[in-house]
Symmetry: C2
Subunit: 165 residues, 2 copies
């Protein structure tokens, strides 16, 4: 039987720069966490809040590639659309993307995910998003983003457990 | 005879956020300035300092596309390589890109160019770059970037004059 350690998701809004840093540990090796971020068949199983019904409409995961997805919730086939670019895919340690919600296309964030190996086949994930202004950063924080992140990472815990076994 | 108004390039490092804002006016209509940023045959004629010998190695200018170029100066066939993604190409008003110098791939900037129409068929160009930390921003500022920007925009003035006539 696998012992699963539940971890806190830490969401930090820096005081001096318009960034959001999300830190979380996972009971799975880095290669597997990286694959869960980059393989679209895995991504749709965990990204976003529990209520989401994510559908990938474009996925070209390579340095210089791009992605798009829609969240089609019950009764609303296209609740929200998102798109962005893969600036760099550096397997298995680093993923740099842009991110936009199609409803506010002037708000673009640059997101850098770093995966660090921990002892015991575990992984620390650090995701830093930066935007141009504190106003945009605060809009993102007040959009309910944290629910999506926390619930998504809980789904990712489950998925990683399944993929390991 | 066309009267050409020389304009100052304003480079501003914000106090409160790690951005660089570059503002410049051009004696050419917005469509033409936008084309000079997006058509690779025009880009190579003006981007970068006067000493540069820019060679585009990849150019896919569309939302979700990407680009790469090298600056091959005299005696040094690959002085520096740069690459990035086109997050959004919104003709003729807005261009959002990522930007990395291959020599320091962990330093990524998100760059938003906005072109505003001015009376008399002129254009104001506002380019905002944001990075994650003030340290990265200050490294960029001390890299001689301003020379490249100012000289590049002078070459762009000449190119726009040629393309208009």
């Amino acid at each position: 039987m696998t012992t699963t350690t539940r971890r806190e998701t830490e969401i930090e809004a820096a005081k001096d720069v318009p960034t959001i840093t999300i830190t979380r540990e996972f009971d799975a090796p880095r290669e597997l966490v990286f694959r869960a971020w980059t393989d679209p068949e895995l991504v749709v199983q965990w990204l976003g809040p529990k209520a989401s019904r994510m559908r990938v409409t474009h996925w070209d995961c390579r340095t210089g590639g791009s992605w798009a997805y829609v969240d089609g919730r019950d009764g609303d086939p296209e609740y929200a659309a998102f798109y962005g670019s893969f600036h760099e895919v550096r397997e298995p340690a680093r993923l740099v993307q842009t991110f936009t919600w199609a409803g506010a296309p002037d708000g673009v964030s640059l997101e850098t995910l770093t995966l660090e190996e921990l002892p015991g086949g575990r992984t620390r994930s650090v995701a830093v998003s930066v935007v141009e202004t504190f106003e945009i950063r605060d809009m993102i924080l007040s959009s309910g983003m944290s629910t999506g992140v926390i619930e998504g990472y809980e789904k990712l815990d489950e998925l990683l457990g399944t993929e390991r076994s």
